[in-house]
């Protein structure tokens, strides 16, 4: 950096853009495509306008050098190193879940329990949570955000009405709590319409705060079933969203929502929502709605969140390997018996892991062949493992022409 420019920076003067030959510099950067990761190329393009050709060339060469230095060697035991790198600091993780009294935050399991949840790829996390960011124009106004939050919170009939069954008359009576009904800004008529539509029949009798249904069933069981069905009728909100808290964006540009219960599909379609920033901590849901790639990123983000929350520093590349291993075949699978370890290609490795006899029997019945490609199998039979120095093989044979 020239002394003149440094002075400019000090004074806060915008650095003069060297518009001359920008194309040439961009061209130079483009030459490095393939040699460097996309992200680095993008970053380089950002400084293309403000950097001299000579400096830029030096920078790019240096970047390539650094990049190559950081690539791992062929035969490196990346998995074991990743496991150890996560496992060792993981021993310091506490099993405790922290709760903060009086804070509008949800009791998310943290630390080890949450990490196990992620790695096990549970179908439902113990505390499903979504973060919903809103589009500009709404997010700045707290009132509007609260209004939106109320709108997506799921309200069931059982939340605002008392439902009773009357077996003698074979009726089901719904008594609305008018205050609560008012609270969700719904008129009695509107509520009646929704309930009738879901019940697929008209109310037999309509009072000023109650409805009486005669479903036409005669057995106790079916009347009870009808009553339970009524209780589940959703009057408002997005299904699955039990609670929505309004929180301030960390950068102070407005407000966002944190919800208990997730429903990606239901939320993404709402026009107020900034769909590009909706986040759910339910990895399986992300997989179903947005695909494996998104699920991989979710695993990475969630795992990183847990470790950061515990003040544990792990190189994210190790976590990336874990996320990749969990998703590489197109669907999210756990690390463990039902997932990765249980689906290993080698019979011997599987037998060594769990349920030895079952694996051996099944392999025998199907005539499985173990090609001894992995680490465990080779240790069992006593061969050098195909890792590190074991990857090298002598091809030429002495004494043969």
């Amino acid at each position: 950096m020239s002394p003149k420019r440094r002075e400019c920076l000090k004074k806060g003067v915008k650095v003069a853009i060297m518009s001359k030959n920008v194309e040439k510099r961009v061209e130079l950067i483009k030459e490095y495509e393939g040699k460097l990761p996309k992200k680095v190329i993008e970053d380089a393009l950002k400084i293309a306008e403000t950097t001299k050709m000579k400096d830029l060339k030096k920078t790019m060469e240096r970047a390539v050098e650094e990049y190559q230095k950081n690539l791992i060697q062929p035969g490196e035991a990346a998995g074991i190193v990743a496991a150890q790198s996560i496992g060792e600091p993981g021993t310091q993780m506490t099993l405790r879940t922290f709760h903060f009294a009086g804070v509008a935050e949800l009791a998310v399991p943290q630390g080890l329990p949450r990490f196990i949840e992620i790695v096990d790829a549970r179908r439902d996390p113990s505390m499903p949570i979504m973060e919903i960011h809103l589009k500009e124009g709404i997010r700045e106004d707290k009132g509007k955000v609260i209004e939106f939050a109320n709108r997506i919170e799921e309200v069931k009939l059982s939340d605002i009405a008392k439902i009773e069954e009357d077996f003698t008359n074979k009726q089901v009576i719904v008594v609305f709590d008018m205050k609560k009904l008012d609270g969700i800004e719904l008129s009695f008529d509107e509520a009646k319409k929704i309930v009738e539509k879901n019940a697929r029949r008209k109310a037999k009798e309509v009072g000023d705060n109650y409805l009486i249904f005669e479903p036409g069933f005669s057995t106790l069981k079916s009347i009870r079933g009808f009553k339970d069905k009524l209780a589940e009728v959703r009057l408002r909100g997005v299904p699955g969203i039990r609670k929505a808290a309004v929180l301030q964006e960390p950068d102070g540009t407005g407000y966002y929502l944190q919800t208990e219960g997730t429903n990606l599909k239901g939320v993404l379609v709402l026009p107020e929502v900034d769909a590009s920033r909706v986040f759910s901590n339910n990895i399986r849901e992300i997989e179903n709605v947005l695909g494996v790639e998104a699920a991989r990123n979710a695993i990475l983000i969630e795992a990183k969140k847990v470790l950061d929350g515990q003040g544990i520093k792990v190189n994210p590349r190790h976590l990336m390997l874990v996320a990749d291993a969990m998703t590489y075949d197109g669907e999210v699978k756990a690390i463990g018996r039902q997932g990765l370890s249980g689906q290993k290609a080698s019979v011997l490795a599987r037998a060594a892991f769990e349920e030895t006899v079952r694996h051996l029997h099944e392999a025998a019945m199907t005539g499985e062949v173990d090609y001894l490609k992995g680490v465990t199998e080779n240790i069992i039979v006593g061969q050098p493992i195909p890792v590190g120095t074991g990857t090298v093989k002598l091809i030429m044979k002495l004494g043969e022409d």
């Binding site: 190193v81 025998a364 062949v369 006593g382 050098p384 493992i385 590190g388």
Partner: protein
């Protein structure tokens, strides 16, 4: 049924309409001496139950009874006690002192000191230190040490070697340590005497200098004075008792204590039996070493042998003697012959060995300050004071600040003063140590009142720049002796089933190269080293395999032929694998699985 249920010794005996009156009445009668003092009564309002216990096995402790915030024990009582006019039992009978068990303690509100008494209190502690248990009562100055260190001190007190039983010479414990010259601690708590530790102490007052020494006492190691050890410092004897029994077997056969004859199966050689008398037992006084027989025994064969030549039932007995443990040696101390409850002849042979402190033995003061001997230094290399005193033990100063064992420092100061004034020094919990007295005594005998002294380097004779804190501290020898623990193996016995090295010191075993250790080698990509650890250093075998069938071939050494058991072919190659894998293949075959090995050229 109405009223409170009343249980006597755990049995429901009836109901009472007014539990509080009942409890009060019983306690009053007990105070008057009309009911036994070891009877306890407790009322649980939440379950509405009264428990009265008189049975044996309840730990009880005495407390001063308090009425309306005033202890019943008066100055008069104490005066009379001192003059011998009344005794403890009189106080108990009068109801001044009451014994409570765990159950009745639930109903009591006990003040620890007299000045915290309120009208609600029911009892007062005789001495605040009595809240401590037996072991914790022994640790000196616990109120001047950090709590983790006090906990550790109590744990180690239980490992200290001393004279644990006065009849030790008649005992046949499997392992027994006895200290040569145990001493009373100069600094001790009041309870020590009553516990009985002063009758059979476990430790010695050792002159300690707190200073570094050539780096041989870093990380809690301690330095010992060789001359002190040779004078018998912290010396103990170790006894190990070996026992064996003449068992009877079905078929009228019996074990026999005797000197095995050479034709016996498993004969160990003449030399191994040299200590045995005609009864098959070693003579007391004989020096024995590891592997030598001390109880000669022969047993009938495991399986009944075929009838030998001349149709005689040849009895081929097998050797079943007891040998001295590998790596141990000692003198046969005593031999005992008795009978088991089953009527079998039972012998016990006790071997004695002197255990002189050596590098690696563990020692500790009573402040949770434990350490292992790092070096034994000849007296002429030890630092000395102007008076010519050399310490017996050198402890590193780094052991003190982070552990906050102020009691350790106080003990040194107190013991130094106590030894000069010929007095035992009080170190009871919650009592203020009389540091002024210690300083006064030290000064009076011409020492610095802070316990420090000028020391001279024993090697160079130079004066050591800083004054060194030096004085007696009560040290204990802990039961962890290196000679009973150290272990290494290069080659040795293997297990029969897997041909892998045995496990454990007693079996001269190897140290397990476990899963996590395996992972580290994989992590480093050290494939060949890993193979060496897991295969070559363990259970590597060479087995012939039929190329066509992939099964283990038969190697007939007599006919010098190797052939396949299935096809009979001789297209057989030798492969190197672990015996454990060979075992796996065999076991799979036993399951009905045909594990076929596909052979390939070694690339």
């Amino acid at each position: 049924m109405k009223g409170t249920s009343v249980y006597v010794n755990g049995k429901l005996v009836g109901f009472h309409p007014d539990p509080k009156a009942l409890v009060q009445a019983i306690r009053e009668k007990r105070g008057e001496g009309k009911l036994p003092p070891d009877m306890s009564i407790a009322y649980y309002p939440d379950t509405d139950e009264i428990y009265i216990n008189l049975d044996a096995g309840r730990a009880m402790r005495p407390l001063i009874v308090v009425k309306d915030g005033k202890p019943l024990l008066t100055e008069d009582h104490i005066k009379q006690l001192k003059e011998g006019l009344i005794s403890w039992n009189d106080l108990v009978r009068k109801g001044v002192i009451e014994y409570l068990d765990a159950e009745e303690e639930e109903n009591a509100y006990i003040a620890v000191t007299e000045d915290e008494l309120t009208p609600e209190h029911t009892h007062l502690e005789i001495h605040p230190a009595l809240i401590l248990g037996v072991v914790a009562s022994v640790a000196p100055f616990p109120h001047h040490n950090s709590s983790p260190r006090v906990t550790m001190a109590t744990a180690m007190l239980k490992q200290a070697l001393g004279v644990y039983s006065a009849n030790f010479n008649y005992r046949m414990d499997t392992q027994m340590h006895i200290m040569y010259y145990p001493q009373l601690p100069i600094v001790q708590t009041k309870q020590t005497k009553f516990i009985g530790l002063n009758d059979r102490p476990a430790g010695q007052n050792v002159i300690v200098a707190i200073m570094p020494y050539q780096g041989y006492n870093i990380e809690d190691a301690i330095i010992l004075n060789k001359a002190a050890i040779e004078r018998g410092l912290l010396r103990t004897v170790f006894f190990r008792t070996y026992s064996d029994e003449e068992r009877r077997y079905p078929g009228g056969q019996k074990d026999r204590f005797e000197i095995p004859r050479p034709e016996i199966y498993g004969y160990k050689g003449e030399d191994a039996y040299k200590h045995l008398g005609d009864d098959g037992l070693a003579y007391p006084g004989r020096e024995v070493r590891g592997g030598e027989v001390i109880i000669g025994k022969t047993s009938p064969p495991r399986f009944i042998e075929e009838v030998g030549e001349l149709s005689l039932l040849e009895e081929k007995r097998r050797e079943n003697s007891t040998v001295v443990r590998r790596g141990e040696e000692g003198v046969v101390d005593s031999v005992m012959i008795t009978e088991t409850t089953g009527g079998n002849k039972l012998v016990k042979v006790r071997v004695r060995a002197v255990k002189i402190p050596e590098i690696g033995d563990k020692f500790a003061s009573r402040h949770g300050q434990k350490g292992v001997v790092g070096l034994i230094v000849p007296q002429h290399d030890m630092p000395f004071t102007a008076d010519g005193i050399t310490p017996d033990l050198i402890m590193n100063p780094h052991a003190v600040p982070s552990r906050m064992t102020v009691g350790h420092i106080l003990e040194l100061l107190g013991a130094k003063a106590g030894s000069l004034a010929y007095k035992l020094v009080n170190a009871t919990a919650f009592e203020k140590p009389n540091v002024e007295w210690m300083r006064k005594v030290l000064k009076a005998y011409g020492f610095r009142p802070d316990g420090k002294e000028v020391l001279y380097n024993g090697i160079t004779g130079e004066k050591i720049e800083s004054e060194i804190f030096i004085g007696p501290i009560y040290y204990q020898r802990l039961k962890h002796l290196v000679s009973l623990k150290m272990h290494a193996r290069a080659r040795g016995p293997v297990q029969i089933l897997t041909r892998q090295p045995t496990e454990g010191r007693a079996r001269e075993g190897g140290l397990r190269f476990g899963e996590m250790e395996r992972d580290t080698l994989i992590g480093h990509g050290a494939a060949m080293l890993l193979q060496e650890r897991l295969l070559k250093e363990s259970d590597e075998v060479e087995i012939p395999v039929c190329k066509k069938c992939g099964v283990i071939a038969i190697e007939d050494h007599i006919r010098k032929k190797t052939y396949c058991p299935i096809c009979g072919g001789t297209d057989v190659y030798k492969i190197k694998t672990s015996y454990a894998f060979k075992l796996l293949l065999s076991e799979m075959m036993a399951m009905g699985i045909y594990p076929k090995l596909l052979l390939e050229d070694k690339a």
